[in-house]
């Protein structure tokens, strides 16, 4: 009788240990996967923006063709954005494109006809929307990185992470305040 109870206890303990192991294993893997999906969300927005930019450039050319420098800046930044590979390079290029777009929207303030153009207004709203979506997606990325890093550095998750060979913390995206600020243009 006693032996059976002892055996049952041992089995119970093993089951609990296995359950804990699976729990931590899944938590670490799924939070790592979440980071990947968070990045792909950012990537989707970056692509959408790159697709909208040529439209914008055409519209601006129609009203303010002699603003060559600003237009060129946007076109170049877009080229670099499309050609970029890897997370870091893409985010750098995206930052440049953001700055270039801000310049062109600031210049548009000087052209009432351009500003009143329905197409331009819709493009501006869409690009603004994408801009904030990128910011939000990046925020989610950072939240996901935080929860992954917490999972692999706090005890007892750390112990499992070491056995899974996942000791390296993932890097955060830095959001500079400058990127969020609206540029002021003096006339």
């Amino acid at each position: 009788m006693l032996e059976w109870i002892l055996l049952a206890l041992i089995v119970l303990i093993i089951v609990i240990l296995v359950a804990i192991f699976f729990g931590y294993y899944n938590r670490i893997i799924s939070s790592s996967n979440r980071i990947d999906s968070a990045w792909s969300q950012i990537d989707v927005q970056l692509k959408k923006r790159a697709d909208l930019v040529p439209n914008l450039v055409e519209t601006v050319k129609g009203y303010a063709a002699h603003e060559k420098k600003a237009i060129e800046m946007v076109t170049n930044a877009r080229e670099r954005m499309v050609g970029a590979a890897g997370v870091k390079e893409k985010m750098d290029a995206s930052g440049k494109l953001t700055a270039a777009l801000k310049t062109i929207f600031a210049i548009a303030e000087n052209y009432p006809n351009l500003k009143a153009n329905e197409n331009f207004k819709l493009l501006q709203e869409q690009l603004d929307g994408i801009e904030s979506k990128i910011a939000y997606a990046r925020q989610f990325y950072n939240d996901s990185v935080l929860s992954y890093n917490n999972a692999i550095t706090t005890f007892p998750g750390r112990w499992f992470a070491e056995r899974m060979g996942r000791t390296e913390q993932k890097p955060y995206f830095e959001v500079t305040e400058k990127e969020r600020a609206v540029p002021k243009v003096a006339f």
Partner: protein, 300 residues
Amino acid sequence: MQRTSFYDQISKNKRNSVLLVLPIAALVVALLYVIGYIFAPGLLIFIVMFGIIWMTLQAIVSYKYGDRAVLSVMKAKPADPVKHVYLINTVEGLSLAAGIPAPKAYVIESEEINAFAVGNDPQHASIGVTTGALENLNRAELEGVVGHEISHVKNYDIRLMTMIAVFVGFAAILSYLLLRSFWFSRGSGERGGKGGGLIILAILIGLILAVFAPIATRLVQAMISRRREFLADASSAQLTRYPEGLASALEKIKKKNSGEMNVSESISHLFITDPKRSPLDELFATHPPIEKRIEVLRAM
């Protein structure tokens, strides 16, 4: 601002909600049991089983078709991709921040500033905003309001509240039946003298349950809903990283809304603030007082 993980919050919340739902379910089952005991002791087990199956069916139906019904009752129309591009962008942006698929955006024709969320899970959710909200709120305020609704979607609040609404409705129907039957049996005189003492005790318990079950379930509903509102406010602040946006939106709501939006009590918990105000709000309000919510947000 404290940066606790959403995911821990959600699982903790799910656990707490189960703890709160259990007593409601127990009350309903107890009510069923007493009814069965008094009227058909031989069929007791069948009555209880039947009641539980009925409750489950009702839950499944409202789970599957609830959102469509609610949207049509509220006369919500899908947001226009050009006219409401701004709302759609806000909803999509905040759902990116929350890491859920973007819910469908709807607009309700109303002067009041309000917003709601419906759906079973983040994959099948809709968010609606009144035209009053679109006209009166600035970007940061609208983001705060939409963030609040997105949090309801993400935290599975809507599903839970639908479940609770089913229980509450069921308790109300049962106790109504029980009270009615007492009324009738008094009129028809003595019912068989066998096992008198036990029957009287059962009737007494039945009476007490019949009177208190609907009140108790309403109280629990209000309690859960109010906790959820605070949590959604906090999550909204975490999404937008700007609690002041929602705080000032709530302030505008406090000033502008008359509290007389034409919405049924049974769906009032879906909105960001109570669409209707009543004198019993102290006890049964599905939302905490606006002043309190603003205070909590400003303290973040």
